[in-house]
């Protein structure tokens, strides 16, 4: 069992040592500085849209051109923002986060600690 059972003492020390290292703290704060604000942004934008949909009917039903209403455009913008945040995140993760995480894992020799399936 990789989860649940006690780790050998040296492995547990290894994880603790890595967690306390400035490199890991830097990686963690980089991750949180990216995903937490991004999460706040899309949740606020989504709830603003839901509240407009629930309480601002006239505004949402206002026609911009032809039969295209404000609500339709805002709804489609939710799709656009979801796709955009996805692309921004993947770009950041592939270019910034993954190399840093791999470098850290390799430098502390944790890559082949346990892992793999017991067959």
């Amino acid at each position: 069992m990789s989860s649940g059972s006690e780790l050998p003492a040296d492995a547990a020390q290894g994880y603790l040592r890595v967690e306390q290292s400035p490199e890991f703290k830097d990686l963690r704060s980089r991750f949180r500085r990216f995903v937490f604000p991004m999460t706040a942004v899309f949740l606020i934008w989504y709830f603003a849209y839901v509240l407009l949909g629930a309480y601002a009917h006239d505004f949402m039903a206002h026609k911009l051109f032809g039969n295209i209403t404000v609500g339709l455009v805002l709804g489609l913008l939710q799709f656009v923002s979801t796709f955009a945040i996805t692309m921004i995140y993947v770009r950041w993760a592939n270019r910034v986060f993954d190399p840093a995480a791999e470098k850290l894992a390799a430098s502390v020799g944790l890559t082949e600690h346990e892992g793999g399936e017991q067959r």
Binding site: S2, S3, V18, G53, H57, G66, L72, F79, T82
Partner: protein, 545 residues
């Protein structure tokens, strides 16, 4: 007028064509499942497809899992009948994936093995936390499963012209038997391939119909909307929100509650979480979600066109008069556009959808029972992987029987609340616990138990005492609750969806349980979890065959 005749008869199209296309789908998928089952010896093979799927394959399978009959037939129908309000659903279902992408998928893949409970119990006391996580998993899967099985009865009634309750029960039993076969023989590998085939058929079919509908209006969305406006009693109101949820302040609040449950529920759905273990690495888990977001997003854009297209070309009155009511919008539109053959194809896709989703739920529930309850709580981790898989197979069989019996019992009932309930439980019981255990060092066993049992209990109680179970009547005085006897009314909670109360309660109880417990968090395990979740060190690898 073909469509008029179709709406007036009890069935649409040609049952023989529909049955032939269904049978072809079942045969093809059975062949795939049997082929995929050759390497199904270990628990990692059976539960996680050997972790050998690529991000793209898994992403397609996730969209197959997620685009259930409710989101294909349900959303298209809701837009056709209620206009813009139907569109609002699809946005909640889509945006929810950002929670999974940013906060859950990769960290979960790096820390767990097979189930949600692996992550939740990682640094907490194993047995109580695993038990709670399994209870919540089984509850969510059961409600979701029951809704799909009951939906199968109604759908088949529409498509095959089977009206009698007994004949519909036979159909539900057949769905159950095929599903159990997929899961027993194919395991996660077979189930995943069924989902991939189904997702491809669904998306290609919807794309073709979308282009066809837009083509009829010279590729002009505004003209299509005009068609929907002309055909609706509500006129231009179909273009803005409010037709379904705008009646009074209670329904408006209900809509906000639903929006909350949708956006926070997806990342706590056990059958979605389990799919992240079928890929070899966190990076592939990320790619899975990216593929899923694109496919699901594009599909919901298609449903926008299909819904308004059904309103314009078929008309809300004809849709509501058809046997499947709101759910028949997409099949009726297919019939209007491409006659019997297109109807048969779209019907087969809808049928395939139910089969695939039900199979995914069954494997999740059986894994949760075998891996969490049997192997880790009862046997305390001393059982080998073959023994665990044997128990998982037996559990799948039992779940199949429960699903068939439950589906027959629930056939014809108002079961929409079951899916809403599944999302509300996932958002109130699972998501707070997952987020706390990944991000909050102090979180401890009592916090996990309180947030899971508290969120689950709160959602369940509020649903039982809500208008969906008793006491709701429509304008004509006809009961629209699950209990159709209007003299029985024990509801006191005003909203259909409990999310706006139960989700904060789940988060609050997780915090309260943690700060009132003297249990100290295990620093070494938290360090291991943090380092593993972010760097992928020590994560489970793919099985080499």
């Amino acid at each position: 007028m073909n469509a008029l005749a179709a709406a007036e008869s009890t069935k649409v199209g040609n049952s023989t064509v529909n049955i032939l296309i269904f049978a072809a789908f079942v045969l093809v998928t059975l062949a795939i499942v049997i082929r995929a089952s050759r390497n199904n010896s270990t628990a990692a093979d059976y539960y996680a497809g050997g972790r050998a799927f690529t991000g793209r394959q898994n992403g397609i399978a996730i969209s197959g899992d997620y685009l259930s009959a409710a989101s294909f037939l349900g959303i298209a129908g809701a837009i056709a009948v209620n206009g813009y309000d139907g569109f609002l659903y699809s946005i909640g279902f889509l945006v929810a994936w950002l929670v999974a992408l940013l906060l859950v998928a990769e960290l979960l893949r790096n820390t767990g093995r097979f189930t949600m409970a692996d992550v939740l119990s990682f640094r907490l006391r194993q047995r109580p936390v695993r038990t709670a996580a399994a209870v919540s998993t089984l509850a969510v899967s059961f409600f979701y499963l029951l809704a799909q099985m009951a939906g199968a009865g109604g759908l088949v009634a529409l498509l095959l012209g089977i009206d009698g309750k007994a004949a519909q029960s036979v159909v539900i039993a057949v769905v159950g038997v095929i599903m159990v076969f997929y899961v027993l023989v194919g395991g996660m590998k077979g189930t995943t391939w069924v989902q991939i085939v189904k997702a491809a058929l669904l998306i290609v079919g919807a794309a073709a119909m979308t282009v066809w509908v837009l083509g009829k209006y010279g590729m002009n969305m505004s003209d299509l909307l005009q068609g929907a406006v002309d055909n609706s009693k509500s006129g231009t109101d179909v273009l803005g929100p409010g037709l379904q949820y705008g009646k009074d302040s209670t329904t408006k609040l209900d809509f906000v509650s639903l929006g909350l449950a949708l956006v926070l529920g997806t990342a706590g759905l056990p059958h979605v979480l389990m799919r992240f273990y079928t890929v070899p690495s966190a990076k592939e888990a990320r790619n899975s979600v990216v593929w899923a977001i694109w496919l699901i997003g594009i599909f919901y854009l298609f449903t926008l066109v299909l819904g308004y297209g059904a309103a314009a070309l078929v008309g809300p009155d004809k849709i509501l008069a058809a046997p499947g009511k709101v759910n028949s919008a997409a099949p009726l539109l297919a019939y209007e556009l491409g006659g019997e053959v297109l109807l048969g194809v779209i019907s087969a896709v809808a049928f395939a959808t139910i089969l695939a989703v039900v199979a995914g739920l069954t494997i999740t529930a059986s894994a949760s029972f075998a891996h969490d309850i049997y192997a880790n709580v009862i046997k305390k981790g001393t059982v080998d992987s073959a023994g665990e898989v044997r128990v998982a197979r037996i559990t799948a069989l039992v779940i199949g029987v429960i699903a068939i019996v439950g589906g027959i019992f629930a056939n014809g009932q108002n079961v929409a609340f079951l899916v809403a309930l599944a999302f509300a439980i996932a958002a109130s019981a699972n998501l707070p616990t997952i987020l706390y255990s990944l991000f909050w060092r102090r979180f401890n066993t009592r916090g996990a138990l309180w947030s899971m049992y508290g969120g689950l209990g709160c959602a369940l109680i509020l649903i039982i005492f809500s208008p969906v179970v008793s006491g709701k009547v429509d304008k004509a005085g006809k009961a629209t609750s699950m209990i159709t006897d209007t003299s029985i009314d024990f509801h006191w909670f005003p909203l259909d969806n409990p999310g706006i109360v139960s989700i904060p309660v789940g988060f609050f109880l997780g915090w309260l349980g943690t700060v009132t417990s003297k249990e100290k968090s295990d620093d070494a395990k938290f360090a291991e979890m943090e380092v593993r979740s972010l760097t992928g060190a020590g994560a489970e690898k793919a099985v080499e065959h």
